[in-house]
Structures are given as C-alpha cells and as structure tokens.
C-alpha cells in the first residue's frame, strides 16, 4: 500500500506547480483530483473525526551503563550516536536543602562562584576554553543537588569534561569574583519584591512545609547572610556540600562507555573522599500551619497572583506515578477540566498552570497563575472544587486516559536529545530511583486506576493558597470563601495580622 502511494506521489511530485519567486526550482506536485474551490473548502467524511494512529513504532529507553569509581563517585552512561553531541551532568546530592545548618543562599552563591575559576584556571581561561570548544557549561544548585552541566560536540567533550572536573574539584573562589558576585546578589535583593510570582511561591512553600523546613528555607532571599558572606565561608560551605561519595556523573550521547569509564577514572580518581564528610540527611516531614489563606498586599494591582498547593510524597515512593498523573489533571495538561474551567469558562486567566516539583523529600504540587482581581474567589472555589472532586470521587475515565497517555509517552520526547537524556537519567541519583525506572515507567503509568488517582490526590484541607494582590479589594471576596484564618502581609512580605473571616 505504501509503495502504491509512493508511486502515485512520485508522479505527483514530477507534476507542475510553480515555486514562489526568488527560490530555486523545487520538486512539485500535480493538481489534486478536484480543483480548489475559490474561498470555499469542500467538506469530506474523513474530516469528521481524528485520524487513527499509525502502527506504533517500537521504542524503549536505551540501557544505562553503571559503574563506580574507587572514591565512591558513580557513573551513569547512555550511549547514542545519532548526532555528534554529548551531554553530561555532575550531580552532588544535597543541594540547597540537604544541609540544614548551611544557609541556602550561601550554598547557591558558592555553586555559582565555583564555575568562575579553579586553582589551575583563571576565570578568563574558563570562558575562553568554552568559547573555543563551542561548549555550553555552567553550575547551579537545586533543592536537592549541586550540579555542573556540559553540552559539547563529540570532538570537544573530553576537554569540556576536564573543565568540569577543574571547577568542581578545585574551585579557586577568587576574591575578585566573590566580591562581584556578592555585590550583584545584594543589589538584586532590592528588586526582589517586584516579582509577584516569586513572592507567592516563597510564602506557599512556607505555608505547606512549615517556615523552618529546608525546602521552605531554600526559597528565602538570603538578605540576612549575603551582605557579609566571605571567601572563607564559601570555601567552608563548598567543602561541606561537595564530596565524591555523594557525586554522580551522568553522560549521554556519542561516547564509548568503556573508554569513558576509564577516562573518568583518570580524571576524577584523585578526587579524595573526606572521611569526616557526612551525607545529606533525610528531609523531615512537612509541618503545615493551620492558616489556609495568605494574602500579600500589592496596592493598586488589577490582577491577583495565586499560588495554590500542597505537599506530596517523595519522588521515590511507590505512588509517584499516580501523583504525576494527578498533576496532569490539576492543570499540567492544558486540556484538563481545571484548565478549561479557569481559562475558557470563567475567562479568569490566560496563563495559569499546574506544576509538580519532584523532590528527594516531600514534593509539592501547585497551581499558579495571575487572575482578574475580581475573579479571585471564583478561581479559588474552582481549584478547591476540582481537588475535592478528585479526592472524593476520582477522575472521569476519559480525562484519566488522556493524562496516562500523555505521561506515558512523554518519555520518548525526553529521550529525543542528549540533553534530555541526561536530564531524565539524572532523576535516578537525585531522587534515589532504580536503574529500571524508565524501562518500567510507561507500564506503571498505564496501570494507574481511578482509585489510585483518588488515593494520590491531595486532601482539600491540606491545600494552602497565597494571593498577591490589592488587599482592600480582596478582603470581602476571600472572607466569602469561609476558609477560616487569613494571614495578611504587607508589600514587603511582613506579617501584619491573622484574622478570622
């Protein structure tokens, strides 16, 4: 059949349609069986419903090669030679939230500064090397990891890996760089309150985890520590949070796993484990307070920014896949019933969406968006109703099927690029997932039932809402919800009062 189509089209391709002016002559198609109607397109039966899928091509995640260096560092490699590219990520478990005694803002600053020079490379050499290699590299910290990333052409990858090793293992923390970075961060603090979304998320984390929880502290601006942070402090913090025993190097792309393992041993083998280094402890459980509504005043704002969410379990727990599917139904999918209600029926927001932050400890699922100020209570009622419905009655079958399909098939997209492969495989060390995680994920997604979704959906009473908007204009609306205590903060985020409405 396909050959027949091919032959027919070959005839078509050799037919006579004119290319647009200024472009080389192109293979063209002959006129279709019936000429186009001027200004009118004839209907046809095949347009009445969606086309059936073609036979699905067999695809499975590529195998992951695992090895470990003598110093404890783990190596995970995925081989793919479709393009001459390699991506890598060096992850060290812990990150902003892993070491409760270390201020997250200082851990983050140390991670950024580390990239700007090593004991053998000046800052100029680091960037000059990247430019010559045409490589993309950098360092950053997440709640659960300190990371160094690299993307390079195959021919440049080895030199890029040496660069990565230098900045992670022997960063120089040059005084000039520390001074500049400190000054920049302190300056940025002045603008901190302008970002309503950031303010809303910071307070939502505090509301759902409890303000002292490491994940809530990781959202703090660092205004109390950054102005006085010294080079010595950064060196001490780096030594505390970075150790080969907690490190994993993930590599994906055009490499030979055996040769790479030998090369990594030669590059990182001399990185010594510090016997006094303690791995990051388990994250504590959340301790949310009783207040369900938090309002931050933004005088004159015609819109209100809403963050509405609750904590979930860790990414390594057995119900993780069911929770990910719940997330699709709470605004992750743009076709979710919640999204359609908020956007198209209420007309309340163009950009609201659901998010699910996977974490080593308790995760967080939330909806975030800006809404017409006068529709704030309507939106909160719709959010509450949807969570209540999923928790008490479970999802409609069609929406469940759509969410499962979307989640199950997202793996192929994730593995399309070497950068995507590294990002996916990095989930294994970050969240403590098994090597067969991706090989079994699609089947686990398809096995999720409506009952499992019900069980995984957050309880309505666990949800907390933060609203950044014009306080006087919001008071009556929020009181009408009858959600109990309401915290009121001024524009700087300082708690003014807690009231009962």
């Amino acid at each position: 059949m396909r050959r027949a189509i091919g032959r027919a089209l070959l005839v078509v391709v050799l037919g006579g349609c004119s290319p647009r002016a200024g472009f080389p002559a192109a293979p063209v198609m002959a006129a279709p069986a019936e000429p186009p109607f001027p200004g009118l397109t004839p209907d046809a039966p095949f347009r009445a419903s969606a086309p059936s899928p073609d036979p699905r091509k067999a695809w499975s995640p590529p195998p992951i090669h695992e090895s470990r260096l003598a110093n404890g560092m783990r190596l995970l490699v995925v081989e793919r030679h479709a393009t001459p590219l390699v991506a890598a990520r060096l992850l060290v478990r812990g990150g902003l939230a892993g070491f409760p005694s270390e201020p997250p803002a200082v851990v983050e600053m140390a991670t950024d500064v580390a990239f700007h020079g090593s004991t053998t490379r000046s800052e100029q050499d680091v960037y000059g090397t990247m430019n010559k290699l045409f490589a993309d590299a950098g360092t950053y910290a997440t709640d659960d990891d300190v990371c160094a990333r690299l993307r390079a052409a195959t021919t440049s990858f080895d030199a890029g890996l040496v660069l990565l090793r230098d900045v992670i293992v022997t960063p120089s923390f040059a005084n000039t760089v520390v001074d500049f970075e400190r000054q920049r961060r302190v300056a940025r603090l002045q603008k901190d309150g302008d970002d309503a979304s950031r303010v809303a998320l910071r307070l939502l984390y505090a509301a759902v985890y409890g303000p002292a929880h490491p994940y809530a502290r990781a959202r703090l601006s660092g205004a109390d520590v950054l102005p006085n942070v010294s080079r010595d402090e950064l060196v001490r913090v780096w030594k505390r949070v970075v150790d080969p025993a907690d490190a994993t190097l993930v590599v994906a792309g055009d490499v030979d796993p055996a040769a790479l393992a030998a090369r990594v041993e030669s590059l990182f083998g001399a990185w010594k484990h510090d016997p006094s280094h303690a791995p990051p402890p388990d994250l504590p459980p959340p301790t949310p307070g009783p207040v369900r509504l938090v309002v931050v005043d933004r005088p004159g704002a015609v819109q209100a920014t809403i963050a509405y969410g609750a904590t979930t379990g860790p990414a390594s727990s057995s119900s993780h896949v069911a929770r990910a599917i719940v997330h699709e139904m709470l605004g992750g999918m743009s076709s979710s019933a919640l999204s359609q209600t908020l956007r198209d029926e209420l007309g309340a927001t163009a950009f609201g969406a659901g998010f699910y932050a996977w974490k080593r400890g308790p995760g967080i699922a939330y909806w975030e968006g800006s809404v017409d100020r006068d529709r704030t209570a309507d939106v909160l009622r719709a959010l509450d109703a949807r969570v209540r419905e999923l928790h008490e009655r479970g999802p409609a079958q069609r929406e469940l099927d759509d969410a499962k399909e979307r989640f199950a098939r997202s793996l192929a997209e994730g593995f399309e690029t070497v950068g995507g492969m590294v990002e996916y495989v990095s989930q294994l060390p970050t969240y403590g997932l098994p090597l067969d995680e991706f090989a079994t994920r699609e089947a686990r997604a398809r096995a999720v039932t409506a009952g499992a979704v019900r069980a995984a959906a957050p309880a309505p009473e666990a949800m907390r809402a933060v609203i950044v908007g014009d306080l006087p204009a919001l008071r009556a609306q929020l009181a009408s919800l009858g959600w109990g205590l309401i915290e009121e903060h001024d524009a700087s985020g300082t708690l003014l009062r807690t009231v009962t409405r």
Binding site: R2, G6, L9, L10, C17, R20, F23, P24, A26, P27, M29, A30, P36, F37, P38, G39, T41, R47, S49, A50, P51, P53, D54, K57, A82, T83, P84, L85, V86, G128, M130, N131, F134, D136, R151, A153, T155, F157, V162, Q190, K191, D194, D256, A259, L260, A262, L267, V302, Q303, S334, S335, D344, A348, D372, E405, A408, A412, E413, F415, V418
Partner: protein, 478 residues
Amino acid sequence: MSRPSVRIASAGRAGRTGLAGVVALLAASFATHARAQGAPQAPEGAPVPRVVLPNGLVVLLAEDHKAPVVGLELRYPVGSRDDPPGRPGLAALTQRLMVRATKHLAPGQYERELDAAGAWDVKSTTSLDRTEFHAEVPADRLALPLWLWSDQMGFFVERVDDKLVAEQLAVVLDEHTQKVDSAPAGRLHDLVDAAMYPPEHPYHGGWLRGSTELASVTVREVRAFAEAHYRPDQATLALAGDLESVRALALVHRYFAPVGTAGKPVRADGRRPHLDREVRLTVAAHVELPMVMLAWSTPPSHAPGDAELDLVAQILAGSRAGWLRWKLVDELKIATQVTAHQSSRELGSQFAVEATATRGHRPEELVDAIDHVLEKLRASPPDDYATEGATTGYLVDPSFGLEQSGARADRFAECEEYRVPGGCVEAWLTRYTSIHAADLTAVAVRELPVDRRVVAMVFPADDAPIGGELRDVAPRQR
C-alpha cells in the same frame, strides 16, 4: 594542567575542534535530507525538500530517524501589525479562536486531542509579524496536527460565533492585562514603540496594544480577517523528524490540498523609521526602583546589520562579563540589572538597552553610564576573546537545540520565510561566525547613534499604575 590525550568519542568522529570546526560539524549533522527511494529530494540550493501545493501552501519535509518524534510548524505571515484600525488585538484573538473550535472540532477538543496523543511543546503564538502553530508528536501521530491545522485553515470561518468570540475575548483581554497593565512598568515597551514608529506605521503602539477597542469586535470582522490572512497561499508547513517523506506528503496533500482561497491577501506595510533626534519619555509607574530603556531603530530582520546587532547585544549584556553589566552593576554599582537585545522585525527592528537602578540612583545616571560604554564600542572594536565569546554565547544553545525535531521544523520554516539560500542551518551559523570585531564597531557607529533614539525614564510613583503612564515627551537636541 595537561590537556586530555585519550579519545572517548565513538569511532569516526574525531578531527574537527575549535569554533569553526564544531559549527561545521553541527551544520552537517542537522542539514537533513530525505534518503528514502522515491522521496522528494531537496532542490538545488534549497535547504530541505520543498513542495508547493496547487493552492500555494509551501511544504518542507526534513526526514531523519534519530528519535520516534516529528516536529511540525505552520506559519502564517499575519501578526499584530495587521490588526485593522480600531481593532488592536484582532490577530491574537483570531489565533486563539482557531485553537478553541473549528467546524469539526468542538470547543476544547484541539488541546484534548493533542494531549491524548502524547504531544508536547504545543504552542500557538502571535507576534508583530507572524502567527505560528507548533507541536511535536510521536511519529505514529503525524496525521493529527495535519487534521487539526487543516480544519483551522479551511473550516474555522464556518464555526466561529458570538459565544466563542465573547469567551476568547475575555482570555485575550486578560492576557493584555497580565502582560501590560499588571507587570511592573509593563507599558514601557508600547510607549517606546509609539515614540519610535510614526502613527501610520503598523508597529506604532507595539505588540500588545490597548485592548478596550477590541471589546466591540464582531463575528463578521473576525471572519473577514481570517479569510484574508490564514490561507494556504500564504502559509508554510514544515515537518522534521521521524517521518517517511512520501507518506507524509500524501497526508499533507489529503488534508491541505483541498483548502481553497479567494481574492488576494493584503499585508500592512511600512518602512523602517529614521529618527532625526533623541526623544525622551518620562514615565511614572508604581514600581520599587527607577528604570531606563534606550531604543534605536535598526535594520529589519535578516538585513545587513541585524546579526551584528545580535552579537553587540551579547557583548554588552549577554554574559556575566558583558560590558554594560560590568560598568553599571560591578564598577559603578548603580544598577541591579542590565539587558540588551536586538528585537528583529520585518519592517524595522529595534535595539534596546534596559536597566534598573539601585536604590538611591537616578535614571539619568544610568543613561550616562550606558552612553559611556557604547562610546567605547564605537571607538574601538572588542578583542577576539570578547567577540568569540559573544558568538559562542549567542549560538551555542540554539545550535544544540536543533537536535530537537520541533526546533528544526521551526528553523526550516524561518529559512523559507526569509528565502535563505543554500543550507539552512549552515547559512544561519555562518551568518554569525563570519562576523568580525570590526563589524561590531561599525554597526554600533552606524546604527546606535547617541542623538537619534528614544530614551524612556521610569520614575517610581505611588499614585501611578503598576504598568506605568506617560507623564512627558520631550524632543531633545544635542
């Protein structure tokens, strides 16, 4: 520290290093061509196999089998610049309506079909110059976007009604409020556009113009606008990834070839404005810190100077060592942040520098410091280190991004739009890697003069709206 001597790459990849070598390697890697017997081949000089349907639709097919994924992009040359007088936002509203419902698709079905198929990176956008529909789908669902998009092209006008217009009007107005009225100094860009482009220019008033006039738009107007602009003889459809060209072409033909057109499209036109003086705007906004925006009228997208200005922006503020960042943030400590960008547009681009002051410093100080840095660039070229850094910084992410089929579809559609001859990816990369330091100084002298520009200064004011309001306009002679 010694450089590595052990080769860890797979066989056959060694040899080319350095910027030029790596760029050539990437260009070769992403310049995909169909290899299947009987499949259409790229014509001489064209980037990928290209077919024109009888109704004028241009189809680009870039077949490869790196991953079981196909990226698709459908572009129409219609944007906010084509909004009729008195109807700002009509292009954005029409694009939203086309996604919401068509003759064979119930409200909401478009998104549901794509979600259920496992599609991702699903986007539909309207900019000043164009409207784009974009998706990546599993290879076995290639036909789905073709069905959806051909229904938009051929059967939208029959479906749109008062209820749908009212519903999506609320969404568009909310988008305007969110991006313009509720964002700190969110009206700044529109105010600058209004000062730079004359009232008769299609860009006057910017991308998200005032929206109150749109509230009275009728279904008849929407239909007329759609029939005039969203038509096959103006559109480009690009497909890249795990497809069989012959089969894909058959599907495209099935869904799009019957779509008809009538009349001739008329686009809003205009020329790049040439300012003859500096114009100063005083803007008040309910924000924490003063801000400035300096904007120049610059060459249109893809014209000589456009790419050079991309690299100038990179040198000024594209990295931690950007000249403006170094001067304003690190040395003088008068700014919390600085950005620079060349906003490429078909009827005249705009180069802009924006900065936010630290507490206690005034906008005028920022303007003086920005001028000092620009004068240095006009006086002498950057060194090779800075130029190479700017080139790498600008190209590296989108280059590696081409590994994604959707990004390749987007790139090929752009090459078609701007009639880029030869290898699309190679031409794009060469356009930037052939720029020398002296070119950057030359373009700064020519296109970023100190006496022909718009300077907007934003002052915090508690009695002003968050989005900002214009308090004064003053031509300034030097």
